[in-house]
Structures are given as structure tokens and as C-alpha cells.
Amino acid sequence: MYHGHNIREGRWFTVVVILNHITEVQLLDRYTAKKPAIGTLYLTATHLIFVETSCNTRKETWIIHHHIATVEKLPLTGTGYPLNISCKNFHVVHFVIPSERYCQDVYHSLLRLSQPAKLEDLFAFLYNPKQDEDDRRNGWGFIDSAMDFKRMGLPNEFWELTDLNKNYELCSTYHSELGIPKTARKDTVLGSAKFRSRGRLPTLSYYHKESNGAICRCSQPLSGISARCLEDEEMLQAISRANPNSTFMYVVDTRPKLNAMANRAAGKGYENADNYSNIRFQFVGIENIHVMRNSLQKLLEVCAMKSPTMSDYLTGLENSGWLRHIKAVMDAGVFLAKAVADEKASVLVHCSDGWDRTAQVCSLASILLDNFYRTIKGLMVLIEKEWISMGHKFTQRCGHVDGDPKEVSPVFTQFLECVWNLMEQYPCGFEYNEKYLLEIHNHVYSCQFGNFIGNCQREREEMLKEKTFSVWPFLWENRQQYINPLYKCSLGREVLRPSTLPLNFKFWCGMYNHFDKGMQPKQSILDHLLTIIQKRVEGEKKMTDFQRVSRYRFV
């Protein structure tokens, strides 16, 4: 038995069952030929743990199985059997294992454990941090996305919440409560849903009180070459009418035009502006999940280069296309925010299914428009609302269980990267810091909590809320670490207008080379300021104590 405590998991003290342990394992440096660390590798039901024995201080490397993206066995070298592990949080470790049989064992175990066949075998169903059942249940109520509509002022004279989808009959991948224009009749809603791919009808994503502009989202219309649907046209008109400040509305197709046109042949496609009154139709050209997956692959190859020249690196960065894609998402988000805030227009956004690019763009625009989403709790609400409840397919996109590798794509990672870029441009504009984004990213893939398991709300309702914990109370409890000390809430409801010139986008070293500490700044301004904030709190407490004591004693 191995008694371990994973620092990253904070309060989860537990006794982990060791399945296997191998001594004299080498942990190689990823980049240089410097002397490898030697230690013992423990395989547990949930983690792979390396405990270094070659140094005096006990150094542990913990890898949760679900973080493992690929395991690779390489041919025998002089010192043993190499086993390379790449993780979804971009941790890369190279082990050399002394015996072939052990290497083989670990390899097969990891393949099996990292991507189980069934959701029920994920860590979240095992994870039990000694809270009582009431705490667990209440935890799921900590963030309620429906409450956010209330915060925006719904219901009001233009918008209301409908329960037409309460049994997920209208749209199986949507949330049960949907925001729709007050003037939309029931048959309009039902008809529009039928005309939209997978029933993902136009529904409210964000309502901007100040301008009456709304951001709505949906999937592509089943327009094909010439089909039209009166109810869908009425639906868009209802959305347009719900904004008295504008005579038109934007319809933004986030796909490249070519892709959208190709879809027409399959009976899908995009809105014909002639059939809809007063819409301004626009493509914004964000690439699909396959392009993004390949782009990330190339980016990671750049990160993995042993000793690249500056030229290798910059050329690799360019060829990966990654920053081009990040900029495309950001550009689209900025377009939406400007349309709503400056032109006071409403916007309807879709891509193909409306659960990837649409989620990215709508959530980004919300952050630009509303400072609430720039707070710790606000980002939770936003992720819950635009991603989880609107059916971003986390199970597939993250590859939680054994499945089609072509469904995996770093769509959510890109969203976080856009937020990070905004934080770089607005260092005082966000209540949270980079660590918060990284921790959320970790948990999206760790499967330790139930939030990011499942592809839509209905799947989650059915099993997760009964058996797993929610990540939000856990993050909230640790929020001191995620505070941005420079945050100035005085910035108020200012709409962010970031520059999207290419030179404003940087490679996110803190994400993609997070575990290569040598590449990070050796001293962190953030940590330094967090320590000061901590001292300030203590100092202020002491001041009041002293003042109380002196009053008590000497007055």
C-alpha cells in the first residue's frame, strides 16, 4: 500500500491501491541529455506516480490516468525500455523501464485505464472526498445557469424563459430551459427547431441590457439548395423585433464560406438573406474541429523540438496555424461584441451543429460585453451556460472514453486561450489569473468531477448529478490562489475592445510548456503579489488586534 497525497488535488487525502510498482525507473529530461532522475513508478487505479529516489528531497510526479493522451513504447535503448507518455494537459514524460515485461505491463494497463470503454469507469464515479451526501448534492446547485438569465433581467418585455424543452423533446442536446423572444409563438418555435440541424433552434445566449441587443445561437438551417421554412423566418424576425434599437440583425455563420456551401449539398447550409427580412448575413471563417486538432498536433510538435533554433520555432509556430485560429475566434468574438454594444444590433450565431465554434464565439463575446464573466464565479456561470448546458460534447471532444479519435478537438482549450490573450491585454480587467484557467483546463480532462463528463445536459441529468461531485464548489474554496491581485472592479461594465492585430497574440507558454519549468520565468510576479496580498490580510488583522488590545489595556 502506498500512502500518498496529491498536492494538486488539495484536500483529497486517501489511501491509493497500488496495482503495480517498478523500481529503478528512469525519468528523462524532455529536452536535454542531463542525468535522468531515478525512482519508483507506482501504478494505481487512478494515477501513475513516480517517486524520485535519486535525490534527497522526496519528489513526486503524479499523473491522473485520464490526462494521458498517448502512451508509446519505443525500441530498447542501452539503459532499458523507453515509455513516452503525453498528457492532455501537455505534460510529457519519458520513462525508461528496466525490464521489457514491466514496460509491457504498464503500457497495456495505461491504455486501458486512460480511456475506459464506459463513462461509469471514469475517476469521477470513484472520487469521494469525504463530504456528506447533502454537501455533494448542494454542490451541484452552486452554479445555476438559469439564474444568469435573471441577472440579465429576464423575463422582461422582450424575452422570456420557456420550458418547451423540459423533456428534451424539442432538442435533445439543449438545456431544458431556453430563452426565446416573447413574441415567438409555440408553433414558430417548434417549426424553427425542425428546420435546424439536430433541432438546435435559435435561443438566447446573452442579453445586453444597455443596448437591448441580444446574442442568440443555433445550428445551421436545413436549407439545402432552396428549402425555406416560414416558422424559422418568423423566429428570426421575432428575435429582431425583440430589439427596438435596431432595424436589422446580424446572422453570423462562423464557418468558412466554402464549408458552409459544401453543406448545402447535404441539405444543410446557411440562411438565404432574400428569405429573411432585415438580416445582414456574414461568414467569419473559423475552421472546423479537424483542422483545429491537426493544428494543435503541429503546435505540440513545435513544443517538443529538442533544441530548436529561433527560426525553427517561429516557422513551426506559423506552419501550425494555431495562432491564426486563435485570432479567428477572437475576431469573431470582437465582431459580435461590437455589433451588440456599438451598433445596438442583435446577432444570431451558428456554425454546423452550433456546439463548437458557436460556443467559443458566444462565450467570448459575453466576456467582452459583461464584466461579470470576468469574475471567478462569472466564468463558472459562463462555462456552465454556454458550454455545458448548451451541449458542447465534452466526452467526445476530450476523448474521455474509448471512441472515435476524429471527434477529439481542442475547442474548449482555444476558448481558454482567447481569454488568456484578453487577460494579457487587460491585466486589471479580470478577477481571476492564469492559474484559474489552467486549473479549469486540468479538470476538463481529469474526469475527477462530473461537470465535464457527458455530451449534453440530458446525459448528465441521468447519471452524473447522482453519483459525482461538481468542480465549482471545489474551485471556489480554493479561490485565493486564482485571484488576480491587479484586478480593479472599478473598470465596471466597460466593454472590452481588444486589439486583434496579429502581434498581440502570443504563444501560451504557461499552457503548452506548463510542465517545462525551465522555460517559465524563474520568478513569478503573480506569486509575488499573491504573497503580498496574503501578508496584507494578516497585517490588517494584526492592526485591528493591536488596536483592540491597546484600547482594552490602556484606555
Binding site: 533554433t309 529561433m310 517561429l314 520565468p521 510576479i525 503580498i532 493591536f546 489595556r553
Partner: protein, 552 residues
Amino acid sequence: MEFAELIKTPRVDGVVLRRPFQPTVEGTLCLTGHHLILSSRQDNTEELWLLHANIDCIEKRFVGTLGTIIVKCKDLRVIQLDIPGMEECLNIASSIEALSTLDSVSLMYPFFYRPMFEVIEDGWNSFLPEDSFKDLESMTDEWRLSDVNQDYCVCASYPPLVAVPKDVDDDTLRKAAAFRHAGRFPVLSYYHKKNGMVMMRSGQPLTGTNGRRCKEDEKLINATLRAGKRGYIIDTRTIAVAQQAKARGGGFESEANYPQWRRIHKAIERSSVLQESLIKLVEACNDQSHNMDRWLSKLEASNWQTHVKEILTTACLAAQCIDREGASVLVHGTEGTDSTLQVTSLAQIILDPTCRTIRGFQALVEREWLQAGHPFQQRCVQSAYGNGSSVKVRCEAPVFLLFLDCVWQILRQFPCSFQFSEHFLVLLFEHAYASQFGTFLGNSAAERAKLKLSQKTVSLWSWVNRPQEAQRLSNPLYEANSLVIWPSVAPQSLLLWEGVFLRWNRSSRCLDEAYEEMVHIIEYNKELQNKVNSLRRQLAELETDDPLQHTE
């Protein structure tokens, strides 16, 4: 010559000044002998005071009778002046052109500038070689100050006093000087207190094609080795470039004649290449029409970041030889006035915590750049917008800017280890190219002495070392760190220096605000801790005074 002759039109009304991210200003444009001034004649609107020396180049455009002059500055700023009247515009343009390219150093602004502040400490005397030698003497007695170059005859680009091994006499120095490029014989650059190892610098040896040798040169550098120890010669050029240098009389130390030394070649580019690189980089940064691919490919093609990486890598190597290998090091390239100084000065930033203080950094710039004979005047005559067509031999090059960029990279990786902030580095960049102070005039100590700069001009250090300036340039995060600091030279760790290259291409409002907030947090906490401590003391005092306490 009178400046008035060059000023064809001293004043034009109704001129509109346009700058990115700032409101346009309409006002009167005035030309003086050294400044271009735009005044709106209204209270609390900002005026423009631009040194002619800061102007890198101008471009003219006409639409009807409205002329436009685009002024591109050496600090990389680009501003636009709309001038009504074609004649006025042409006059202004030709006056600016003449005034910004004055040939004679003694007509430069520093000779006319009278400080508006009280000089508390004369910067010209702040960093004398005698003083820094005293520090050395306190650590070792193996070195002496030689005045072999007191009349600048042995080496025109060296100062009158240099530190050399004690056992080597002046005669040997003279002979060694004859064997080194431009007389730059090996001299002490840095003494590593921790292990007594040293770093020296020099010009290339003049071995030529037939492999000349010089016993005195060998004796001189061998004198710096401990018994049985080997040293490293870091040649900042590739072996191919060093080989080619032989044909022109230069070369490198052969293994046969310098058996106690191991030679390592690095690949820091010649100064002309660096200049091309700067031009390309600034072009890329200023062109806002680029898409992402084009921007990254232009950034890559400029090679600027490659130079940063190469220079830092070489400096790390030198520092490693000294600190980790416990070996002495000799650094040189061709002349020993450019890449050599980048390497020796950066190695000291890495090794020596003193160089990371405000004064220590000034001393480093004074010692390793000004005294060491970096030709500032030549190198900084043009910046990124200079096309150099008027000059036959291009000698401008951003050698010092690259050094500052490398310091910024280390500062970014160790944000708490420097007493100064990025502002100080930007300030040095600005003043190296155009200044009211005399510090960066001339190309060597000899030229500065001839120009009588210390009598006729004010030193930049006189200004920087005033308490309020030093305060402004200081780093609020600083916590003295006595360790050697090893920067990462992985491409991911080296960023484009936004504070210089993107400075005028983006709004700085949010970044300035963040900086102020950071200062505020730190200051507030300091005050609070002081209050806590004084309250604690007061309480303790009261308690000992309190009679009740004694009876308890």
C-alpha cells in the same frame, strides 16, 4: 555656422499633429536649432518637443496645397504633421533634414543644454576606472592598473587605464597590442569573486594566413591561468567567418600556440547584419495590414529574435565556463567592440548581482561599453528608418539595443532580481540614440576626452542618479538576490520586447494602469507592515511601563 541659416521657416501656424492612440493636436510648429516644437497654445494640452537628433528620417506627401511630413524617430515613434502651404511644408522638411543630420558633434544639443535640475553628483566622476579597480584590489592582488595607454597610442579605442595581470609589464602589453586588432590587447573585464576566475576581452589576434604568433600575447593571457588549469577562448564568430578573417590579416588563436586554451566558436552576426535585421523587424511591427501568417513569417525573417537567442546563449556559455567549470575566459570577435561587449556585459549580469542594481548597471555600461570603446556615435547615427544612402560605409547597428533587449529578457525571467525596471532600459535606448546629455557622444574614451565632454556637457548619470529619477526607474518587485541567475534561452522563453518594438503600436493605458496598481499594492503593504511593527513596538514599550504588568 549659425543654425538660423538652416531654418528656412521657423514658424508655421495651423499645423496638425497626428499620433497613434493620441488625440490630434492643432497648433503652431516652431523649429529651433535643436528642437521641433508643436504648441497648441492652450493650457494642459500636450505639446511636442522633439530633438532633431531623434529624427531618423522624414517623408513628404502632398495633397493639393496641404503638405504632410511623416517624421520617423530613432526611438521608433512615427508621427505625422499636416502643414498648410506647400512652400512652408517644403521649407520645414528641408530644415528638419539638415538639422537632424548635422556632421559636427560639437553642434549637438548636449553642448548647448543647460540642466534645469541641480547636479548633486557629477556623473562624469561617478564611475572612474580607479574606483572600480579599488574594488578589485579588495578581492585580489593578482592584477594591476596599467597606464600604458595614457595617451591613447597603444590602443585608440581603449581608456587610459586598463587592468592587466600583475606580472605582465607594459612592454609586453605593447607587443601584444601590436598582435591584436586595432591594438585591443586582452584586458580584464570581470573578476568572479566566488572562485577567482576572470573574464577578459580583446580584439582578434592578427595571425593572418601564415599563422603569425606572438609570445607576449601568449604570455599575457597565460598569466591569467592558475597552475594546471585550462581556459576558454570564446570567439563570437563562426569558425568559417573566423577563417575568412585570416585573409584580411585577422584570425584566431591556434591550438598549437595556445595549448592551455580551448576555443569555442559561436555565431553572433556582424553589425551590418544586425542593422538589416532591425529594419525588417520594425517594418513588420509597423505594418498593421499583416495577417497572422505574414506577421509570424516577417518576424522570423527579420532574425531579430535569433540574434537575441544567440547573444544570450553565448553570454550563458561564458558565465558557465567561469562559474560552473571554474575556468577563465577570453572573449573576442573581430574588432572586440561589438559582439564581444554584448557577451562580456551580459555574462556579468548573469554572474554578478551588483550589475543588477541601478548604479551597478550604470557602472557596467560605463565600463563595458563606454570605456571599452563601443563606437556609440557611429552605431547610433541611424536607427530602424535610416536608409543610410547618404553614407558610403554603413556603420550604424543596433548592437547596444540588442544588449538591452537581452537584459530585458533576463529581467522578464527574473522580475524580482533587478533593482531597476524596464523603464531604465528603454531610457538608455532612447539616450543612446538622441539625448540632451553627453554620455553617449563620441566613439571612444579618446574622442570623449578630445571633445571635453565632461566639462562641456552634462552626464546622463548626473540626472539618473537624482533620488527622484532613481525612484522612478526602480523596480518595485526588487529583492536583492545574490545568486547567479541562469536565463532560459529556449525560443519559447524569449519574447519580442514589446516595450520598445510595440510601444507606439498599441495603447499603453491598460499596461500602465496595471503597473501603477502593482506599485500601489507593494507600497501599501510596506506602509502597513511598518505600521504593524511600530504599533507592536509601542505596545511592548507600554507594557514594560505599565505598573500593572509587573504585579501580574
